[in-house]
């Protein structure tokens, strides 16, 4: 197969992903809406088991919805159409919110999340919902891929020059040397990852890498000396201008 053919095949694949994901959006909204009304009990009281089932159904609709969002993001990244909406954002607040949202899951998983909270606000120039995705992804990976027994995840944020450095250190199962090179690739899943979390898509780190790099930063990890992994990313503290763009005139996309 020559190069052209490979490229065409690839384009078709991402088209299919995009079409399927778009088609799933409306039925997901419908399902979610119906479940929301039923769970609110405005149509009648539910017994405990009925309520429990409905909430379970709703959680699973959320799972599907998140997969669809990830797939659409991937197809946008591949087409070069993934857009960020950066602004000054307080990363400390986002970290606190993410950690709070994972609190009960972490507790149930016997995992302690420690936030080495800086004494002052740490502002970064990023897209708030996208950077939240990255932070959620790294912390949820740390919880998901923990070792047996009690686990500890340490989150840190510091300002380094004109960049903000985020770190997420775990004492989990770690990343083998063979997996290390592929961990940020699309759909890649290590054997251990599949065993611990068979339903993962292998898209989280791929999307996270795209987000961080489009924000003007870098993402990487180190194997800890003792056990587990530390993931890092940097993002600019203030407005980041790409050299290429700096030449163009004031961008006004209203046309």
């Amino acid at each position: 197969m020559d190069r052209k053919q490979t490229k065409r095949k690839k384009a078709k694949f991402s088209d299919v992903i995009s079409i399927v994901a778009h088609q799933l959006k409306t039925p997901i909204s419908v399902l979610y809406g119906y479940l929301e009304v039923l769970a609110s009990e405005e149509l009648g009281k539910l017994n405990k088991k009925q309520k429990e089932y409905l909430l379970d159904a709703r959680k699973n609709v959320e799972v599907i919805s998140n997969i669809v969002k990830d797939l659409l993001d991937v197809s946008k990244i591949e087409e070069g159409k993934y857009k960020l909406n950066p602004q000054q954002v307080n990363l400390v607040k986002i970290c606190e919110e993410v950690i709070a949202s994972f609190a009960s899951w972490a507790r149930a998983s016997n995992c302690e999340i420690v936030f080495k909270k800086p004494s002052v606000d740490v502002k970064a120039y990023v897209d708030p919902s996208k950077i939240r995705y990255v932070i959620e992804n790294l912390i949820s990976n740390a919880i998901t891929y923990k070792s047996l027994g009690p686990a500890r995840v340490e989150i840190g944020i510091t300002k380094k020059g004109n960049n903000i450095l985020f770190s997420c250190k775990d004492n989990g199962i770690g990343i083998s040397k063979t997996d290390a090179a592929k961990i940020f690739s699309k759909f890649y899943r290590s054997e251990e990852a599949v065993i611990l979390n068979p339903s993962g898509t292998g898209l989280g780190l791929y999307i996270s890498k795209a987000i961080v790099e489009l924000s003007g930063g870098k993402i990487w990890f180190r194997r800890n000396r003792d056990k587990g992994t530390t993931f890092y990313f940097t993002v600019p503290a203030t407005h980041y201008v790409r050299k290429k763009k700096a030449k163009t005139k004031n961008i006004d996309d209203r046309g």
Partner: protein
């Protein structure tokens, strides 16, 4: 009581998905609104002109005439130019949202992100104004 009974505010939903229409019809009727609906852009526009709705909930990807064009014509017509329009769409890109608001929608809601109850709150908010 001599006070006239207030007319129930009338909502027009232009949406081609039958289940979403049913969901909003039931919910908004329970919340005390009159609800009329259209399944495509042309029918929606006709109803916007003939039925005097107090608010329009507008999908964007619609048969016969897309939502952006429907919105343009609602804003051009003297009778309907001041009616609040809430876009409720699957298109969630920054570009689409900017365009919807630039063309004169009061609110832009993304179907997969908005909860039904929050959407109803938005409807109430714009009817109060």
């Amino acid at each position: 009581m001599s006070e006239k009974r207030k007319r129930r505010p009338k909502i027009l939903m232009i949406e081609d998905n039958i289940f979403l229409r049913k969901l909003y019809r039931d919910k908004l009727t329970r919340a005390g609104f009159d609800f009329i609906e259209a399944t495509n852009g042309i029918e929606g526009l006709n109803k916007a002109f003939s039925e005097n709705p107090d608010l329009v909930i507008l999908d964007l990807i619609l048969p016969r005439k897309n939502g952006f064009d429907v919105l343009d014509e609602i804003r051009k017509n003297k009778k309907t130019k001041n009616i609040p329009v809430i876009i409720l769409s699957n298109l969630g890109q920054e570009m689409d949202i900017k365009e919807g608001l630039a063309r004169g929608a009061q609110e832009y809601l993304v179907k997969t992100d908005i909860r039904l109850s929050d959407a109803v709150e938005k409807v109430k908010k714009w009817l109060k104004k």
